[in-house]
């Protein structure tokens, strides 16, 4: 749509600007403030320069958490995106099945995140949970509390359970927007099932897939509540992701300077990713 130039539009944006500035810029400035200061208590602060950043960027703990988080996000994307596409391709296109599928599949997306954690914490328990109990009965030595591998599997399956539907819904929305004419043309050309997917369905899902990939990447990169409730970051530190580590540092250990420096590094990464997201999106829109 052609938009007219009008600087008075700023007045309409002003309330949003003020509100978000209050909840974003002031807190961020607090973080910046802490990240360059040190204290001996009593609200006595002195300049520390880049000390905290040095410490964070050279601490194994930070890089390990970062590494775990990147591995986690990668696994999540590798599983959820293809699975989501596959399920969306097999969804009914009309009839009573459509609303039923949509509503049931969207349900996990609407459950409070800590309840998701609670559900899986209970579900995976070997004494009272269906999953843990069944796996034990089948002879697996499953225990997500003590075994790092089982803990990872549980957290990943939980995330697949929680968020694959998002990919499904987005892909499905992309799929139903393809006119039948495209399929008929493909039929006349004698296209195979794969060719239809590769040359008709996938290009038409481009935009929604882009959104799905980026949302899934960012949300899994800042996941906190679900693994925190299920594993508490354990056993040991094996499921301590960046957010969990940050909250531990800030509220658990009350290590303000380090936590603030970490927040800033973390936020800069997110900013960079958002920028990539935004650039790709707007470039894509311009192409269309």
């Amino acid at each position: 749509m052609e938009r007219t130039w009008n600087n008075k539009a700023w007045f309409m944006v002003l309330p949003v600007l003020l509100l978000v500035a209050f909840s974003a810029i002031i807190p961020l400035m607090t973080v910046v403030n802490y990240s360059v200061q040190d204290t001996f208590g009593n609200n006595d602060f002195f300049w520390a320069g880049s000390e905290w950043f040095d410490e964070i960027l050279h601490s194994d703990r930070f890089w390990e958490a970062m590494g775990r988080n990147l591995v986690f996000s990668a696994i999540i994307l590798i599983i959820e995106i293809p699975l989501g596409i596959f399920i969306a391709l097999n969804m009914p296109k009309k009839g009573w099945g459509v609303p039923v599928c949509l509503v049931l599949m969207a349900l996990p997306l609407l459950i409070p995140w800590n309840v998701v954690g609670t559900i899986w914490q209970v579900f995976g328990r070997v004494d009272i949970g269906l999953l843990g109990y069944s796996l034990r009965a089948l002879g697996f030595n499953y225990n997500y509390v003590n075994d790092p591998f089982d803990a990872w599997i549980t957290v990943i399956v939980m995330d697949v359970w929680h968020w694959t539907s998002l990919v499904v819904l987005l892909c499905y929305a992309g799929l139903v927007s393809i006119p039948d004419a495209y399929y008929q043309a493909a039929k006349i050309d004698g296209a195979s099932r794969w060719a239809i997917f590769r040359y008709i369905q996938l290009p038409k899902m481009n935009r929604v897939l882009l959104i799905a990939v980026l949302l899934r990447f960012m949300d899994s990169f800042m996941i906190y509540t679900e693994p925190f409730v299920v594993t508490g970051g354990g056993p040991g530190n094996t499921t301590t992701f960046l957010s969990i580590d940050l909250v531990k540092l800030a509220i658990g250990e009350f290590n303000l300077g380090e936590a603030a420096a970490m927040s800033i590094v973390y936020f800069l990464i997110i900013m960079l990713l958002s920028w990539v997201f935004y650039t790709v999106m707007t470039a894509y829109d311009a192409e269309q």
Binding site: L104, M105, L169, R193
Partner: protein, 306 residues
């Protein structure tokens, strides 16, 4: 946008208008039917969604199942369904103020947040969809970064900010804090819906002598009613499911139900039945309202950009 979806969601309506003759129409319909059969490969296509839905429902079923059992049954005998169904767990929640107050607190701040977010987002989204202005792109990008910001980064500064204003443990504190991600979300969703309304409508209304507020309330808002509904739904949902910030900013008087649950787990770790019942009750609001937005939910998650 809504109009576009109507035609595209049912591609066949669109098709029927294009072919010239009735013959071509039947040929097309046969082809389409064949195509669909081919696309679905076999009669077992329904297996995939069915298995997936079973996978989704099993953990939820297990929670519901537990909520109707006594603690002895949960811990004692492993059973796939409650042998002696009891609603005692639910009664505990509905009679104990420390439990049901949690629901009331959650609902209060979630509703406050939804009203604030959508109210301020409406004019902003209109500005973004209709006008270009100095720094509009940067502003839009900045809003996006807030939607993507990790709540963990804000937990501590929020605590200090709201302490400084003496707002800790009030509903408005959580409602304002959640605006951080809900206002950008509402702006994005509404902008997507508003861009689908042709600009000629605005211009015609102005020519007809409508003032801006009157045009916006009388003509424009009804046109994007579904968009407003979806934006409300998403603000409601994201505020309802968020816990980290809500827990950080509250101690007792405004503590959300989700935080009360975690506290109970860590304190006693035993009352599984009540925990399960509380969990089921937190799922209910989402399960109830999702029906109304089922056709738009993908669009909402895609920030209005499907």
């Amino acid at each position: 946008m809504a109009r576009l979806e109507e035609t595209t969601a049912d591609g066949r309506t669109l098709m029927r208008q294009t072919p010239a003759s009735a013959e071509a129409q039947t040929a097309n319909a046969t082809l389409a039917r064949k195509m669909r059969r081919r696309g679905e490969e076999s009669r077992f296509w329904w297996l995939v969604p069915t298995i997936y839905i079973i996978f989704l429902m099993l953990p939820i079923y297990w929670l519901v199942n537990m909520s109707f059992k006594t603690n002895q049954e949960i811990l004692g005998a492993f059973s796939l369904w409650p042998r002696n169904p009891t609603i005692a767990n639910y009664m505990v929640i509905f009679t104990d103020p420390s439990w049901y107050k949690g629901y009331i607190n959650s609902i209060i701040y979630v509703v406050m947040n939804t009203v604030i977010s959508v109210t301020v987002a409406l004019p902003a989204a209109y500005a973004f969809s209709r006008y270009r202005f100095l720094g509009d792109k940067h502003l839009f990008f900045w809003l996006l970064t807030n939607r993507m910001a990790p709540p963990a980064v804000f937990a501590l500064p929020f605590f200090q900010l709201y302490s400084a204003f003496g707002l800790i443990d009030t509903h408005i504190a959580v409602a304002l804090a959640h605006c951080l991600f809900n206002v950008p979300l509402a702006v994005w969703i509404l902008e997507g819906f508003m861009s689908g309304v042709p600009k000629e409508i605005d211009e015609t209304a102005y020519i007809d002598g409508y003032s801006f507020p009157r045009f916006f309330l009388r003509i424009f808002m009804p046109l994007i009613a579904s968009g407003i509904g979806v934006a409300c739904f998403f603000c409601f949902m994201f505020s309802w499911v968020e816990l980290l910030i809500a827990r950080t900013l509250t101690t007792t008087a405004a503590k959300p139900i989700a935080a009360i649950m975690t506290r109970t787990v860590s304190a006693s770790g035993l009352d599984w039945g009540v925990l399960a019942a509380a969990g089921v009750l937190t799922i209910l609001p989402g399960a109830l309202v999702i029906w109304f937005v089922r056709n738009y939910i993908a669009k909402g998650f895609a920030l209005g950009r499907v």
